[in-house]
Symmetry: C2
Subunit: 457 residues, 2 copies
Amino acid sequence: MQSDLLAFENFLGKDGVQKDDISNHITDWTGQFKGHGSVVLYPKSTEEVSAILAYCSRNKIAVVPQGGNTGLVGGSIPVHDEVVLSMNKINKQFSFDDTMGILQCDAGFILEELDNKLAKLGYMMPFDLGAKGSCQIGGNVATCAGGIRLIRYGSLHAHLLGLTVVLPDEQGSVLHLGSSIRKDNTSLHTPHLFLGSEGQLGVITSVTMTAVPKPRSVQSAMLGVESFKKCCEVLKLAKSSLSEVISSFEFLDADIMECLKSNLDLHPVLSKSTPFSILVETSGSNEDHDMEKMSAFLDECLSKNLILDGVLAGSSADAANMWKLRESAPLAVTRDGYVYKHDVSLPLENYYELTNVMKARCGDLAKRVVTYGHLGDGNTHLNITAGKRCEELEELMYPFLYEWVVAHGGSISAEHGIGQLKLPYSNLGKESEERLLTKKLKNIFDPNGILNPYKMI
Amino acid sequence: MQSDLLAFENFLGKDGVQKDDISNHITDWTGQFKGHGSVVLYPKSTEEVSAILAYCSRNKIAVVPQGGNTGLVGGSIPVHDEVVLSMNKINKQFSFDDTMGILQCDAGFILEELDNKLAKLGYMMPFDLGAKGSCQIGGNVATCAGGIRLIRYGSLHAHLLGLTVVLPDEQGSVLHLGSSIRKDNTSLHTPHLFLGSEGQLGVITSVTMTAVPKPRSVQSAMLGVESFKKCCEVLKLAKSSLSEVISSFEFLDADIMECLKSNLDLHPVLSKSTPFSILVETSGSNEDHDMEKMSAFLDECLSKNLILDGVLAGSSADAANMWKLRESAPLAVTRDGYVYKHDVSLPLENYYELTNVMKARCGDLAKRVVTYGHLGDGNTHLNITAGKRCEELEELMYPFLYEWVVAHGGSISAEHGIGQLKLPYSNLGKESEERLLTKKLKNIFDPNGILNPYKMI
């Protein structure tokens, strides 16, 4: 409504309210989700966020908080005509304590910018993901972003210390939760409730968290493995032998390797073709030590017949070639035409069984059924491709796939979240008492239900 | 009341209800806190906990959950006549996935028992504390226990995956929160709300968390340092040089060293007497590598004039002597007669300033003002001793000390929690919006306010 726009301009100035050319704020980057919002707001401070949320709460106007809009489940774009609350201009305040390793910054900072700032001080962010050039730290917290370093540094729960959040209540309450020190047991640890809350509880405007010392040495190796069972044995050995230096343990099956070759002309780094490939990375403070550990690990894998082949990257170019295979996998599958992406966790005994089950189930309707993922975290990105969108295939896949995952003790969303995409399945495996509790919690933070509706909760 | 006792016996059998000889359940181990409860209940299952809490909620009977009763703030004993709900008999179920490193166990398991079980499988618990022989994992979660390995493995937030909890509502609702896999983004991360909740929200009956590979090599070194500023520089260097292997960075000042000598006849391991001592520990998978890193670190400390003296433990007996100094500090101070213990966090620039401020303030009323603690976490255990309890000294100390800590950006409770001890100061530095939020949260979980009253919230 016109009066609402005037109110927003009153809070933010004319340049804080965008009405035209907003398509990249109401569509996600995959093009899969498209909303109908008509306005994007750009607050520049916590106080401006507070004014907007108080106004919207009093007037029952629905709001979608939006960081870098890099999500994969449609969580950061409007479903209907919600107002988009962009964090793009909340990116000024940054401070870092380089003795304690504690970072405090505005929520709109882009992950890669933070990593670059920290690198100059000998530190780095404890997580890394493909979208690092666009995603924002506030969104990372709101989605409890995972990525490739989780096996080493843990989830964001391991690092979060404090948050400034604005609640969507009639006062636009500003809360400073947690603290800026490493240990604080003086109240409920409420900042952690915002990790993975997907913009349901409040708008994060500032984040305080720990960073980790930047490793001086990063080593990579690619292993070829005959069976999935042996992949698990290699993982167990890696965790024990590479212990404190292991930083990634990534998995690719022969089908994604074939897809990389045919769709992107990317060739395996191992001379032999093997059913499974594993990319192991170490990060440490001493190159000689890490090389020695990695060599001993490879030797032990070979002597125990756990791997068919293995190569240690001798240069950063070698390592880049290995990582290019893993990092290009999401692009390679899109070249088939249409891709059904998945992001699920499973106990390791069922991790690859899912792939076999889906291959058998989809048959010729699927162009490819390929698997890559973070094996060390039990997180599989099973992708099923087709020439184009295919309803018959969809009916075979859903809800079967998610029901299978839950029946086998897994999670239907390992790191991408629920958003819009998985809302139809979000009750799977959840007990009614848990659902009731989350609804009660939502109601405390967002009594008028204006924040990010039609999603997650 | 007699009818309540009959009801409890009906739920638990006669051997599940103790009415006599309960003094060790209504008094804390330091003797500082004594309640007036008249009954201790020993449920053997989640279902029995549920029956008790449902009954108590309907009949408005206050309940104190109790694990190992090893806390230091009176959080696990009754204040008035609350029923004590002991977890001692909920300690049967234990399982461990040694590929993923995931532990699932009943809440009543003693920390040391778990550590011993995991050791046989090549793993260990990611935290360690003085009370490990008596404290229980459920209590560790409820207090977000810290300890000496936090600098390496992070807080319990880094490891918690799932909980079974029973709510103190009229149904005694049993909730299975979180999951048993490493990555799960399908709902609010409610298990983390129980970390540090001090028995205010529900009774934890089962815990799912990650363990860490047991290090094959543990090295210790004691350093003598001239100034507190140099201690901070040594910390910064240790984090960068010992990076992935550092597992402890403990601090002792000259006054606690003197106290150890005069009260326990324990002598420093360094030949020179220095104003400050630092105990550094590394834990890793390769002894040669760790020794080399530790030696290089000591050399760099010496060549940069950061330390006056330094010795690397050449044997486990040497290391034990070093650790005995640190671990005996809490005992040594008690021998002075009466001790005022503190557990606060501060930014490092104010860490030791607090000691100097309190020395000047307490003057001759204090027998000693000594400081030891987890410097790497910003956590100081400042202890002030006297021949006996002294009201004049107390008036000088409180609330001054806690107000000073909050004014300098610290936390009045780093790892011990609020309990009864710090309740008078628990609003310090907290905003009214935060207080209101925690009260609303408490009310969702415990609508009748029966769980652990007169404490924390």
